[in-house]
Symmetry: C2
Subunit: 750 residues, 2 copies
C-alpha cells in the first residue's frame, strides 16, 4: 500500500569511523562473482511477462485470480529450486454488497459507483469480479445528513472548524486524501460525532496539480477513486479478530462488534468529479490558504442544511482465506539465522503497480538465487522469500504469519527486507539505522540505467539539485543535503507503517528495511484505482520495467550480502547518532509546545483573535489546553550519550573481529545478533500494546508516517504528560539495554 516514492529521508549523518566497511568490502570481494552471476539472471522481460499475467484480472483478497497468482508463484519457486509452500489464514475481510451515494439537497443526483473505462487502457473496461470503490473496515450504515468539508480531516482541521463554531456532529464529513493516513479521517470524524465520512482525491494533491490526468498522462482523472483500508491500524494491524495471534482456523476470535480496529460509521472514497458536485454547493465562510485544494471553485466549510447527502454501505463480513507463499533456501553454515525478504501479491483491483511492480522484482531475485543454487552455491544463512497476501486491507498476510511464527522468528530472523510498488526514478530507503551504511554500500554498487552513475550518486544529485536555491529547508533536509554534498552515506528514513515490515520491526523488533525507486513517471496517479493496470505501469510508471530490474539488483545485493559472511553488517554508530538527534527533536518539541501554549494564553487574555477576526469569517480563539509542563528528559539524554560511546567501542571491536579467536568471535556475534530486539518493551506503547518498539512506530495521528521515540514524542504531542515521564524512563531503559549489549560485545572481543 506504499503511496508515493519517498526520497532518502532524513536521518543523521554518519560521524563515526567506518566500522563494518571491512565486512561489506570483503563480502563484496568474495561476492563479486556471485553478484555478477545474480545480475545476469535479472530480466525485465521476465518481470513484464509475470506482471501482464498477474495483473490480468482483479486480485484482491478472496478473488480467484489472487489465489491463482499464489499458486503460480508456488510453482515457480519450486521450479527455481526453493522449498516453497502456501500458508493460509482465515481473516475477517469485508467486501461491499452495496454502496450508495446521492446528493439529496439542493437537488437529487446519483454519485459514486465504479470508475469509468478509459479507451486506451484495455483492462479498465474488463471489470468482471472487480470491487467497486470502497474502504475496507468502515462501519456499514445508511445515513442522510448535511456535509461539512474538513480539509484533510486531521486534528488541526477540527481546530479550524471549532474556531468557527462549526460542528460535524450528526453530519457527513467530506475529507480530502493527504495530510495523514486515510484511516484516520473516518476515525477522527467518528470521534467528533460525525455520522459518515467521504474521502476524495483532490487534484492539487493527486491529479492535475502534478501531471496530466490519465490517459493523456499518468495522473488521476476526474473519475478516479482511491480505494483502501480504514482499519484502525494505529492500534494493531492484521486480522481485526485475532490481535497478537495468527488467524489460523482454530484461533480464538473477537466478534466484529468487539474488534476495536473496525470503525462504526459508514465511509466511502469518491472521485473529485463527484466531490466537485458537493463542494460547489457548500455554504459558509470561504476557505483561504492551505486548507483549500485544487478544485476550480471557492472552498467552503459547509455544514448547513442546504447540502445533504445520502450515504449507505452494506458489506459481506464473512471470513476469507489468505494465501501467503513462503519459499525457503536453507543456509549452509548458519541455517538457524534467517534473512527474510517480502512483498505482497494482493491488489485492490489489478494491482499492477501496487504491489506487482515490487512483487515481480522479488520473483526475479528468487529466480536468480535459484539459478545460483543450481550451480552449487548456498548462502551461509537461510533465505526466506515471502509473497504476502492481504496487505492492502491491513498487512494481514505478513502480520498473521509473524504472529503465528513469533517465537521462531524472534530466535532466527536477523533481517527483514521489504518492497512494495516500484517505479522509475530515485532510490529511497527507510529502516533500522544500524543498517544505514549497509544500504548505502549496496547503493554504490548498483547502476542507474538512465544516467549510468550509481543509484546512490543519482539520489545524491537529486537532493543537491533540489537543494539549490531552496532557502526554506527543514533541518532534516539540511542534513540530507550536507550528506549528499560530502558524497558520504545518505541518511535513511525511519519506518512508520504502510507495508509489510510493521509486524517484523514494531511487534518483534527484527531490524527491517523498506526499499524502492520512484519520483518520476506516473507518480501514483493510478494508486488503488482500476487504472493501476499493466497499460498504466508500462506507459507511465516504469516503461519496460527497467527499474524493476534495478530494484532486483539492489535488493538482491542486500539479501546476498546479509546471507553471507559472519554477520549482517550493522554499524551501531549510525543508530546512536540518529537516536541522539531524535532526543534533541523531542526536547525541542516540548519546549516549542510550551512556548506556543504560553503565547496562546497571552493572545487569548488580550482578545487578540477577536480583534483580528474578519466578519466574513468570524473566528474565536483556539481552545486553551493549558501550558505544557517542564518534562525532565535527563534519563533519555544520558542514555543517548552513553549509546554513542558504547556504539563507538562496539564498532571498533567489530572492525577487529578478524583478529579474534573463533570463540571470541562467536561470543561477540551471538551477543549482537538479536540486539535490535532489545528496543522492544513487552508492555508496548501507551494504549496500543501491540506496538512494542520504543524507537520506531507509526504515529497514531499520522498512520503511515513514523514517530520516533514514540512513547515520549506522542505523549507530549497528545498532552499525556504523565505518559511522557513514564516513557522517558522506559525508552531510556531499552536504549541502555542496547548499550549494555554493545558493551558486552566489545568486552567479548577483548
Amino acid at each position: 500500500m506504499t503511496m508515493i516514492a519517498r526520497l532518502f529521508a532524513t536521518v543523521s549523518l554518519l560521524s563515526l569511523p567506518a566500522a563494518g566497511i571491512a565486512q561489506v568490502a570483503s563480502a563484496a570481494d568474495d561476492g563479486k562473482q556471485i553478484e555478477r552471476t545474480f545480475d545476469a539472471q535479472i530480466s525485465s522481460a521476465d518481470q513484464l511477462a509475470w506482471l501482464r499475467d498477474m495483473s490480468s484480472a482483479p486480485n484482491h483478497v478472496g478473488s480467484p485470480h489472487n489465489r491463482a497468482n499464489a499458486e503460480m508463484q508456488l510453482a515457480l519457486f519450486k521450479e527455481w529450486g526453493w522449498d516453497a509452500r502456501i500458508e493460509t489464514f482465515q481473516v475477517l475481510y469485508p467486501t461491499p454488497i452495496s454502496t450508495t451515494l446521492e446528493l439529496v439537497a439542493p437537488e437529487r443526483t446519483t454519485l459514486g459507483g465504479q470508475e469509468p473505462a478509459v479507451a486506451e487502457d484495455p483492462s479498465s473496461a474488463n471489470l468482471q469480479g472487480a470491487l467497486p470503490p470502497y474502504v475496507a473496515y468502515q462501519g456499514d450504515g445508511d445515513v442522510t445528513a448535511p456535509v461539512v468539508y474538513v480539509n484533510y480531516g486531521m486534528p488541526d482541521d477540527y481546530d479550524a472548524l471549532a474556531a468557527r463554531g462549526i460542528s460535524v456532529k450528526g453530519k457527513i464529513v467530506l475529507a480530502r486524501y493527504g495530510g495523514g493516513w486515510r484511516g484516520l479521517k473516518p476515525k477522527l470524524a467518528q470521534e467528533h460525532g460525525a455520522a459518515g465520512c467521504l474521502i476524495y482525491s483532490d487534484p492539487a494533491d493527486d491529479g492535475y496539480g502534478e501531471r496530466d490526468p490519465f490517459p493523456r498522462g499518468g495522473g488521476r482523472p476526474a473519475g478516479g477513486v482511491q480505494r483502501g483500508s480504514v482499519q484502525d491500524m494505529t492500534q494493531y494491524p492484521g486480522d481485526p479478530l485475532t490481535p497478537g495471534v495468527g488467524a489460523t482456523a482454530g484461533a480464538k476470535r473477537l466478534t466484529r462488534a468487539t474488534a476495536p480496529t473496525i470503525l462504526k460509521i459508514p465511509a466511502l472514497p469518491i472521485s473529485y468529479g463527484d466531490a466537485t458536485k458537493i463542494m460547489s454547493r457548500l455554504e459558509g465562510p470561504v476557505i483561504e490558504g492551505r486548507a483549500r485544494g485544487g478544485l476550480a471553485l471557492a472552498y467552503h466549510w459547509g455544514g448547513t442544511d442546504a447540502v445533504k447527502v445520502h450515504l449507505a454501505v452494506k458489506s459481506d463480513w464473512s471470513l476469507k482465506t489468505l494465501y501467503d507463499v513462503i519459499a525457503v533456501m536453507p543456509g549452509k553454515t548458519r541455517p538457524e539465522e534467517w534473512v527474510v525478504r517480502g512483498n505482497h501479491h494482493d491488489g485492490w483491483v489489478f494491482g499492477a503497480s501496487d504491489p506487482l511492480t515490487g512483487q515481480v522484482a522479488l520473483m526475479s531475485e528468487a529466480k536468480a538465487i535459484g539459478a545460483l543454487a543450481k550451480t552449487g552455491w548456498r548462502p551461509d544463512r537461510t533465505i526466506v522469500y515471502a509473497s504476502w497476501d492481504g496487505e492492502e486491507p491491513g498487512l494481514l498476510g505478513s502480520t498473521e504469519w509473524v504472529e503465528a511464527h513469533a517465537a521462531e522468528l524472534a530466535r532466527k530472523a536477523v533481517l527483514y527486507i521489504n518492497t512494495d510498488g516500484n517505479g522509475r526514478g530515485f532510490l529511497y530507503a527507510e529502516g533500522s539505522h544500524d543498517l544505514q551504511h549497509f544500504v548505502n554500500a549496496a547503493a554504490r554498487d548498483v547502476t542507474d540505467p538512465q544516467t549510468s552513475v550509481s543509484v546512490l550518486d543519482r539520489a545524491q544529485a537529486n537532493v543537491r539539485a533540489s537543494g539549490y536555491g531552496d532557502t526554506s529547508r527543514r533541518d532534516d533536509d539540511a542534513i540530507a543535503l550536507a550528506a549528499a554534498r560530502a558524497g558520504g552515506d545518505m541518511p535513511i528514513g525511519a519506518l512508520g507503517s504502510g507495508s509489510d515490515y510493521s509486524a517484523f520491526l514494531q511487534h518483534l523488533g527484527i531490524p527491517s528495511l523498506d526499499i524502492g525507486f520512484g519520483g518520476e513517471g506516473g507518480g501514483g496517479g493510478s494508486y488503488h484505482s482500476i487504472y493501476d493496470s499493466f497499460y498504466h505501469v508500462t506507459k507511465f510508471d516504469d516503461p519496460g520495467l527497467v527499474y524493476g530490474a534495478v530494484l532486483s539488483k539492489m535488493v538482491g545485493r542486500l539479501v546476498l550480502r546479509a546471507a553471507d559472511g559472519p554477520r549482517v553488517p550493522a554499524r551501531y554508530g549510525d543508530f546512536a547518532t540518529t537516536v541522539s538527534r531524535y532526543v534533541g527533536e523531542v526536547k525541542k518539541l516540548a519546549a516549542d509546545q510550551r512556548e506556543k501554549d504560553r503565547a496562546l494564553r497571552d493572545l487569548t487574555r488580550e482578545d487578540v483573535f477577536k480583534l483580528a477576526s474578519n466578519p466574513d469569517d468570524p473566528t474565536i480563539a483556539p481552545a486553551n489546553r493549558g501550558v505544557t509542563p517542564l518534562i525532565d528528559m535527563l534519563a533519555l539524554e544520558d542514555a543517548a550519550d552513553r549509546l554513542g560511546r558504547s556504539a563507538h567501542d562496539a564498532d571498533a571491536a567489530v572492525e577487529r573481529m578478524a583478529t579474534l579467536t573463533p570463540a571470541a568471535q562467536a561470543r561477540m556475534l551471538a551477543l549482537l545478533r538479536s540486539i535490535d530486539q532489545l528496543l522492544i518493551d513487552p508492555a508496548g506503547l501507551p494504549g496500543r500494546p501491540w506496538f512494542r518498539n520504543l524507537v520506531y512506530a507509526p504515529g497514531t495521528l499520522t498512520g503511515y508516517g513514523a514517530k520516533t521515540l514514540p512513547g515520549v514524542r506522542e505523549a507530549i504531542e497528545q498532552r499525556r504528560f504523565a505518559d511522557a515521564t513514564t516513557y522517558v524512563t522506559r525508552t531510556a531503559a531499552v536504549l541502555n539495554a542496547y548499550a549494555d549489549r554493545l558493551d558486552a560485545a566489545a568486552v567479548a572481543a577483548k
Copy 2:
C-alpha cells in the same frame, strides 16, 4: 492603481527614546477640539452619494464623465471654501481602436472582447463609452504565433524556460498576473524576443483561490479581465513624451517612436476563461509546484506549433487632456509651507473602488476642513488638496503637476499624503520612516468601527493573530510581530510605486505617506474590470463606506497635525534604525548571492543537474553568471552608524525645542524642514535618472514593490558590480548629508 491592501509592512522597530512625542501630544491637546469638530463633519452618506454619482459612467482619461467629475469636484471645493482650480495637461494616452484575439490552432476560436454583464450589477450592462480590456502603452501590432506559458513572466521564469531549452523568440507569451508589476511582463517578453504578450488573471492569485467569484462573492469571475498600464514606469512615470517636464501645451515632446517607456510589441489582458482555452491545449513538460496556478488542468510550458494565437491591437495615439483639481487653504502663520494631500479621480471603467473609495474620503476631509475654516479656524501651514487625473495610465496627473511645479514644491512642500482605493479591514501605511511615529500616533486616536479599539490596536491584533503558530516567518514579519507584541509603534513599509506619491518622493524627495484600509471584503476581485462598480463596493468592499469615513478621520488627523504646530513631527531615529536594517540586508544579499553562485559552480562542475534530471522534464544547469565579487560597503556601514548617532542627538534637540530662543528655534526648524530632500542625488539611479531618491525607489524588476538603497541593492541583484561600488559611495554621501544636517540642527539648538 493600488492593487491590494497591504498590512503594516516590515520595518525596524523603534529603539530610540520617544523624541517628537512631546510635539504630537501637545498638538493633539491643542487640536482635540478641532479634531472632534472635523470628525463630526465626516459622513459616509456624503461619500456614498458622491461615489454613486462619480462611478455612474466610465471615467477614464478623456471620457466625458472624467471631465464632469473634475468639474463637479471643483464646484464642491469652492462651495466648501477652498481656493480651487483645474490645471490641465496634454498627454499621450492611447485608447484601443480594435483588439483582436483568436485561437487559430489546433482549432479556430474567438477570444477576448468586453467582459460579460452580471445581472446583479446594473452598471455592468451599461457600458456605453467604456474601453474594452486592454493595456495602455503596449506596442500595437498584428501577430500570429505559438504560445509559451511563462508563469509570472519574471526573470526566474525565463531561467526555468532556459533550463528546458524553451525559447519565446517570435512567440506569444502567456503570463499570469502577479509576482511583479504588470508592465514588466510584456517588457521582459520583448527583451527575450517575444512577438506578443497576453496576461491573464489566474484564479489561484485572483479568483476562486481566495473568494467566491462575482456575483456570489467579490472575487474575479471567469470572464473578468484586469486592465492596466504597461508603460515602462521603472524608467519614469508620467506622460511618455515629456519626461522631467510638465506636459503643458507648449512643452517640448518626444515622438511616440522615441519615447522609451512605450513598448514595441502588442499585448492584451485576458480572462482566465479565455486563458483556459489556450492553456488546456499546450504541450511540453508538465509544470509542478509554484510555477503553476489554479486552473483545473495540468500546466504546460507549450511553445510548440500545436497551439497558435492571433493577436492584434490598434490604438488611437492622440493627445488627451488631463484635469487635475487643485484646492488650496492658505496657512495663517507659515503659508510658504505646504502640506499636500492627494488621490486620483480617473478609473479604468467605473472606478468605484479604485480610485473613488479613496477619492470620496478625500472629499469628506476637504468638506470638513472647509467647515472648520468657516468657523474662523485657519491652519498654520497651507493645505493643498489635489484630485489627480490620469493616474491609471501612468501617474500622469500627479507627475506632470509635480514636474510643472518642481521648483516651488522643492521650496514649499513639507509633506505629501496619498490615498487610493480603500476597503474594509486593517490599516496599512507606507512612507518615509521619519514619519513612522507620526502615523502611529494618529492611528492610536482613530477608532475601528468593527471592534471599537483603535485602528492601531486592530492592526496589531491582526499581526499577532496571524503570527500565532506560524513558524516560517520572514525577518520582516518577526520585526512587525515583536512590535505588535510590545504594543509599541508598528513599522511602516517603504514606498515603491503604484500611486501618486512617486513624483513627490522619488523625483523631488518630499517626505510622503500612503495610507489605506483593507484585507477584508471583496479583496480586489473587481480590480480594473467593469465589475469595479458602486454595486460591488457597497456589497463587498466597504458596505456603507464605513471605512471610507475611517480613512477620512485617519488622514484628516495627519493633515491637521502636519498643518499646525511648529513642525511636521518627524522622528529621525526611526529613519536611522530603518536605514541601518537596510544596510544589513544589502550586505546579506551580496553574501548570499556569492554563496549561491559558488554552489552553482560546484553543482555544475559535478553534473548534478543532469544526473537529477527527469526524462519527462529534462533540464540543464542554470546559466553560469560568474561569482559575485566581494563588495566593500564600509562607507555605507559607517554612514548608517553615524546617522544613528546624529539622529539620536537631533531627536533630543527637538525635544528641548520649547526651551530655546525663538531665533534658535527658527534656525533649527529651517534646517530640518527640507532634510528629506537631501536623499536626492541629482544624477539619479543607474539607467533611470528620473528616480533620484537613493533610499526609496520602485524596483526595476518589481515595478510596484520598493527597493530600498536601490542604487546598491539593484546593482548587486542585477550583477552590475561597478555600479554597486559607485552607489555605495553615492548613497553614503546622501546619508552623510542628512546626518550633517541633523548635526547642524542639533548645534543650532544649543
